[in-house]
């Protein structure tokens, strides 16, 4: 009955389960921390903390969907962060308007090139992605160290620092509302356009009330999010913070990748390759190009995450992105991406990243030591994958029956 209602509303039941899980975790942590968790300030910080892992998790979904893995993302993030820092602080004239933009562009190009190179080694030479990117993990981390012999480079350009958020790096109240309203309008427009087009071909579409409920639910989520971000004011002032820039970057990345996955050939082929590589080949899918593209995109996103982390830290440091690959993969997996390939969603991965970051944030508020936090997050990872396996088995049987 409940699954039937979700189907009528056109909501993926697994995403609904993730949202419900997140809700339970939030309420639990709120109770345990005596009301310190669900405050505008903490939620605002939580969103910003999720950005770096979330940006990479979006790309990791596509990598894992093709039955591959990328262990090098943390190292690429670190290396790109260091490249940007050195160029920005030590190579080009500091303080010029173009410096932060130019160095960011170079950093993103470097990340993309690293990713594309790994994709080519995998797709053209047939070296397993696990091995290629394990080597990449060592190589890119090593390069980051070699660039400055391990020295930390600071401070970053003030404009570039905005990318990391912080008090200046938010877009303020009115702009946040504008972003939210544009989101609601775009969502409504897209759903109604799809509906009209289906009706034009004479398909049975979902009832109008179901469409309305779905749009209202999603609009509620979007505007609720904006309201929370806008109710956080800078300490000891009443300046509204609004959505912080790293969160805006994450939202942009997630929307772009959803668009790519759902409405472009590229995305369709990524899923086809993961579902049945031989079938994809026989259908004329250019698998080599697609795989190189997926790794290049992952490298770009790792570079972007590295830039955000570097801006947040206000320094190019060697430890940037260390072990991030594990959080990123865990986020994708908690978000329902199957390591067997062929299934997973970008939105799921963002929710996965948010779940992990919520647990970590809440446990910090509770004062738990980091060793214990790791134990708990590890257990959550196993429970999430187990629950997903059970769900798949049951829904698989339901579809056969």
């Amino acid at each position: 009955m409940k699954a039937g209602l979700l189907r009528t509303l056109g909501i993926d039941p697994r995403l609904a389960a993730l949202v419900a899980t997140l809700g339970v975790i939030w309420l639990g942590l709120h109770a345990l921390t005596d009301g310190a968790f669900l405050t505008p300030r903490n939620l605002w910080n939580l969103a910003a903390q999720t950005a770096v892992v979330g940006i990479m998790a979006c790309g990791m979904v596509l990598v894992i969907v093709t039955r591959r893995i990328d262990l090098s993302v943390g190292s690429i993030a670190g290396c790109v962060g260091m490249v940007i820092a050195v160029l920005q602080v030590e190579m080009f004239a500091p303080g010029t308007w173009w410096n932060p933009w130019f160095t960011l562009a170079i950093g993103l190009a470097v990340g993309t090139a690293f990713g594309a190179a790994q994709g080519a080694l995998n797709a053209v030479l047939g070296i397993p992605a696990f091995v290629v990117t394990l080597a990449g993990l060592l190589i890119f981390r090593g390069i980051a160290w070699l660039i400055t012999s391990g020295r930390t480079v600071a401070p970053m350009d003030p404009t570039f620092q905005l990318l990391g958020g912080g008090f200046e790096g938010s877009i303020g109240g009115p702009a946040s509302w504008a972003v939210g309203l544009v989101g609601v309008a775009a969502l409504t427009g897209l759903r109604l356009a799809a509906r009209r087009r289906q009706q034009g071909f004479g398909f049975t579409t979902r009832p109008l009330w179901a469409e309305a409920v779905t749009i209202l639910l999603m609009a509620g989520f979007i505007l609720g999010f904006v309201a929370v971000m806008n109710s956080y004011t800078r300490p000891r002032t009443d300046i509204v913070q609004g959505i912080s820039i790293p969160v805006l970057v994450l939202i942009g990345v997630a929307c772009a990748l959803e668009w790519l996955a759902r409405t472009r050939r590229f995305g369709r082929y990524v899923y086809a390759i993961g579902g049945n590589p031989e079938a994809a080949r026989l259908a004329g899918v250019p698998s080599t190009r697609i795989i190189i593209g997926v790794f290049a995109l992952m490298g770009f996103l790792a570079g972007l995450a590295g830039a955000v982390a570097t801006a947040r830290l206000n320094a190019g440091a060697n430890s940037t992105g260390e072990l991030a690959e594990l959080s990123v993969i865990a986020a994708a997996v908690i978000g329902g991406t199957s390591l067997a390939g062929g299934s997973g969603t970008v939105v799921g991965a963002v929710l996965g990243a948010l779940i992990m970051q919520s647990l970590d944030n809440g446990m910090v508020l509770l004062g738990l030591p980091s060793a214990l936090r790791n134990v708990i997050i590890g257990v959550v990872l196993i429970v999430a994958v187990w629950a997903d396996a059970v769900w798949r088995k049951r829904s698989g049987k339901a579809a056969e029956a």
């Binding site: 087009r197 071909f201 398909f203 409405t263 472009r264 369709r268 899923y271 049945n276 079938a279 026989l282």
Partner: protein
């Protein structure tokens, strides 16, 4: 007489030094159903895989309407109007029926966005023509029954105005009702002027459907016969002994 629809001559293909095809040949006319027979390992599947671009040939000539063509990959074959229903069906189990039908040949709107509604519209029509009861448009094909999966694979092959249709063991996984459906479909496509190649073990099916037979052994042709000129026993003799009756 006009040039045959497909002519393959002197096709060679080796895997790791072992010759799978050694001078294989085949002729197919428009509006004809050709049975391709042979033991396991005789090279019949390999020969049709050369024709559909799955394995490029190392030597030999392929002509379409008398003109030499080069088929290096599945895209080339599809562009020439050669469609294939593979024995494994070659479906992406995680995608739905419509996505599978259009895989590699998606309909796109201006700017390159997938035209999902247009594909669903066309996909529904071709599926309904094959099986009016087919309604599982939105579930991954991995959760469909064997017969339904076969329908999806056939729909993919006939959606794009094929001139040549290759069916590798088309009825091996099917029940009696579905086998009859495939038989009817083969006759209809034949009457529309398509050339069909059926790879099969099942002599009974082949005799019911095919006008001509090509028998292979050890990667070479044993001979080409008209079905009405031979008995099943004689064909069995060709398959086993590798000699013309």
């Amino acid at each position: 007489m006009n040039a045959a629809l497909v002519t393959m001559r002197g096709i060679h293909k080796a895997f790791g030094g072992v010759a799978a095809l050694d001078g294989a040949e085949l002729d197919l006319n428009a509006g004809e159903v050709l049975g391709l027979l042979g033991h396991n390992g005789a090279g019949k599947s390999t020969l049709v895989k050369v024709l559909c671009g799955a394995y490029p040939a190392e030597a030999g000539e392929i002509r379409l309407d008398g003109a030499p063509v080069e088929i290096r990959n599945p895209r080339d074959a599809r562009r020439l109007g050669i469609e294939t229903i593979h024995q494994t069906l070659a479906l992406a189990d995680n995608l739905d029926a419509v996505a599978n039908i259009f895989l590699g040949r998606e309909i796109v709107k201006w700017g390159g966005a997938l035209d999902i509604a247009a594909m669903e519209h066309a996909g529904r029509q071709v599926l309904a023509r094959l099986n009016p009861h087919f309604t599982n448009y939105h579930v991954p094909v991995g959760s469909l029954s064997g017969g339904q999966r076969q329908v999806v694979a056939i729909a993919r092959a006939i959606q794009f105005q094929a001139r040549v249709l290759i069916m590798d063991e088309p009825t091996a996984a099917l029940g009696p009702a579905e086998t009859a459906m495939v038989g009817q479909l083969i006759r209809r496509l034949q009457s529309e002027g398509m050339g069909l190649i059926i790879v099969s073990h099942d002599l009974h099916d082949v005799f019911a459907l095919c006008g001509r037979l090509t028998v292979m052994k050890n990667g070479r042709p044993v001979g080409h016969v008209r079905t009405e000129d031979v008995t099943q026993d004689e064909v069995l003799g060709m398959i086993i002994a590798g000699r013309m009756p």
